[in-house]
């Protein structure tokens, strides 16, 4: 492959000729001290809060603290290349990141620089990292489902497009797994997905990207990585940068899903910055505005009104609790900001219930508005069965003889719990979910032994996909549990049951 060097030279020459030389006017300051990701700068008398500044090595900083005699700057990059006495120039702009279709499918750092080695991001669209969230008048109530593909969530705590649903739990309880399954389930639904990794091990992020690639999800997903070894200012900015990129789709009438994994680490990075900047520490040494740090981020997820194009941005923030302590500072803050939470508990996880969601205390404040009618009808029964089961669970351990009604409730409960278990990376289509939950709540599983319930479910789904795909299509088209649809489901289940050997 040879290049036309004459043509290349002529293109470059044309650009040089078009270059209009101007005097560059800039505001400058001098670095007084630098270290640990922050710098104090003397001068910069006209700089405004949050303005971008640049160091001689090209590294960008943000004016964080405006003090009487100096400016505290947080350094978005390697601070080791900065010396005392260096000249700092202000750029007169706010931080912005590239957005648009050019970022889809890429792995970026919080400043928008690609780190997947697939070439530069070619786009003219840039969005500011910090904006004021849309007001009340520009929003529309959440009314469309955002299917995560996880039965327990889509049935009991459904998430709608434009909602913020918190995933909260101890370490290693499956928080990221839920988020990744939700992303994988958006295939073919026209939702652009964003995964913001804050303070994670870069090896874990690499595994996640690999899992997304294998599931074909990288075609519509952008990953923004600010790993554990990246500077605290970059970890602090990462969620805002991801939201800015996702907002491009929201304001253009499309739908987007963003996962913040996880916000506890972003709060810790913000605490580091604030303490180094000598801002007074509050509870747990967090600065006083750590609530604002999260609330202004999460308020940007919304469902827009028809006038603005009806786009939406759904967010799944993740918070890690320590020893199940949900009444600590940061978890309580984020719980009060979000529209519901999914609690994951380690004892459920180790008992084999995965996803380890505690259905009793998990909540979705949008609820039924985010479910299709068919799902609403079957989910109601599911919730009642599980609630009754939880009440009676203690009696099962006594080992006494129970009356038939109580025993029936217990048996149904065991089977429903078994039914809600789901393997990782296998999100389920909503029509399939409806059929399986229908089978459970209408008693079709009562004769199947508990240990065989999952096998039955897998077999039923294969049967549906191979031979009765018209039933699934009917459910998708109608979206409601009409008598006709119900009849079709019932006959499918009976047909499969006849062939199933317990």
């Amino acid at each position: 492959m040879k290049f036309n060097s004459d043509e290349i030279a002529s293109v470059i020459q044309k650009e040089i000729e078009q270059f209009g030389s101007q005097i560059d006017v800039r505001e400058v300051g001098t670095v007084l001290e630098v270290g640990d990701g922050i710098a104090r700068v003397y001068g910069l008398s006209g700089v405004m809060s949050g303005e971008m500044v640049q160091f001689p090595s090209g590294v960008i900083g943000l004016a964080f603290n405006l003090e009487e005699k100096s400016v505290g700057v947080i350094i978005l990059g390697d601070y080791l290349s900065i010396n005392e006495g260096d000249e700092v120039r202000s750029l007169g702009t706010l931080l912005s990141v590239p957005a648009g279709d050019a970022v889809v499918g890429r792995v970026l750092d919080p400043l928008g620089n690609p780190i997947d080695g697939k070439g530069p991001i070619n786009t003219n669209v840039r969005r500011p990292v910090e904006i004021i969230a849309t007001g009340v008048a520009e929003r529309h109530p959440v009314n469309e489902p955002m299917q995560t593909g996880i039965k327990a969530i889509d049935a009991m705590t459904p998430i709608g497009r434009g909602q913020r649903e918190l995933i909260i739990g101890d370490r290693k309880t499956g928080k990221t797994a839920i988020a990744i399954d939700a992303i994988i389930n958006q295939k073919g639904k026209g939702v652009k997905c964003f995964y913001v990794a804050i303070g994670q091990k870069e090896s874990s992020v690499a595994l996640i990207i690999d899992a997304l690639e294998k599931a074909g999800a990288m075609d519509y997903t952008t990953v923004i990585v600010s790993g554990a070894s990246s500077p605290a200012p970059l970890q602090y900015v990462a969620p805002y940068a991801g939201t800015a990129m996702a907002e491009h789709f929201m304001f253009n009438g499309q739908h987007a899903l963003i996962v913040y994994d996880d916000l506890s680490k972003q709060a810790v990075a913000y605490r580091q910055l604030s303490l180094l900047m000598r801002r007074p520490p509050g509870r747990e040494a967090f600065p006083g505005d750590v609530f604002y740090c999260h609330s202004r981020l999460l308020e940007r997820s919304a469902k827009l009104s028809k006038e603005l194009g009806s786009g939406s941005l759904t967010s799944l923030p993740i918070i890690e609790t320590l020893e199940g302590e949900v009444s600590a500072y940061i978890p309580t803050n984020v719980i009060s900001i979000t529209d519901g939470q999914i609690y994951l508990q380690p004892d459920l996880f180790f008992a084999g219930i995965r996803p380890a969601m505690n259905v009793g205390i998990s909540v979705s404040r949008v609820g039924g508005n985010a479910q299709i009618k068919a799902m609403k009808k079957v989910a109601g029964g599911l919730r009642l069965d599980l609630a009754a089961f939880r009440e009676l669970e203690a009696f099962a351990q006594l080992g006494t003889e129970l009356d038939p009604a109580t025993q029936a409730k217990l048996d149904r409960g065991y089977r429903m719990v078994e039914l809600l278990k789901q393997p990782q990376f296998q999100p389920m289509d909503v029509a399939e979910q409806i059929v399986t939950i229908y089978a459970g709540t209408r008693g079709h599983l009562d004769e199947i032994p508990v240990a065989k319930v999952r096998e039955f479910e897998t077999g039923l789904l294969d049967f549906l996909r191979d031979r009765k795909s018209d039933v699934l299509q009917k459910i998708r088209d109608v979206g409601d549990l009409t008598p006709e649809v119900e009849e079709m489901i019932k006959s499918t289940i009976s047909a499969f049951k006849a062939t199933f050997r317990a």
Binding site: I8, I16, D24, E27, Y42, K69, G85
Partner: protein, 209 residues
């Protein structure tokens, strides 16, 4: 690391700068009462440049905390009494009592700035690639007066690395008309635009074999 340390000018201490500003303000206020501000500021400048910079022992003696205040007063009286404005002599004694004689340089800098501010003058530093002739300097001062619409006090610095043109600094604002700066801007803007342009016509650039 030591090479980098040499490139950096004197360590900048903002606390010291603040102290200098406070004392300079007081000095000029006192001078205003006796109507001899210009004389005071010029004498202070001469003190720093001609005496302290050239005689490091005097500098050391004045700022030495071990020397008692009375001794310092005696020294100031003996050396400066007849040759300096009395307000300035008293000022030096006040500084001695407050153990702030080490901040004389920053006092002088701030005093000079404040005097110019009060007189409606701005201090401008110009960096040039080669030494300017007197005529060129005057022309530059005239131009700057027209641009800033104020009286201008010009200091120049020679830095061959800017390759040509002029960098003018007023307070915290820098106007960069240097050749080096233009080349950097050229590299950046043209580089980006050329890259984009090449990308759009990328197919036509490749010769089909």
């Amino acid at each position: 690391m030591s090479d980098q340390a040499k490139k950096i000018p004197t360590v900048f201490d903002s606390e010291e700068q603040h102290v200098g500003e406070v004392y300079a303000r007081a000095l000029l206020a006192a001078g205003q009462n006796s109507k001899s501000i210009d004389a005071i500021v010029d004498q202070l400048e001469s003190l720093v440049v001609d005496v302290l910079d050239k005689n490091s022992k005097v500098d050391y003696a004045l700022s030495n905390p071990k020397m008692s205040v009375e001794d310092k007063w005696g020294m100031i009286d003996r050396v400066f009494a007849g040759k300096m404005d009395p307000t300035l002599v008293t000022f030096l004694k006040v500084l001695a009592r407050r153990q702030r004689l080490g901040s004389l340089r920053s006092v002088q800098r701030s005093a000079s700035l404040l005097r110019d501010q009060m007189a409606g003058r701005i201090q401008v530093q110009a960096t040039v690639a080669q030494e300017l002739s007197a005529a060129a300097k005057d022309a530059l001062v005239e131009n700057l007066k027209k641009v800033f619409k104020k009286d201008v006090r010009l200091t120049t610095k020679v830095d061959p690395s800017i390759l040509g043109g002029l960098i003018v600094r007023v307070g915290d604002t820098v106007l960069d008309g240097s050749v080096d700066g233009q080349l950097a801007a050229l590299r950046k803007t043209v580089g980006q635009r050329a890259e984009n342009a090449l990308r759009t016509v990328a197919d036509s650039l490749v010769q089909s074999n």
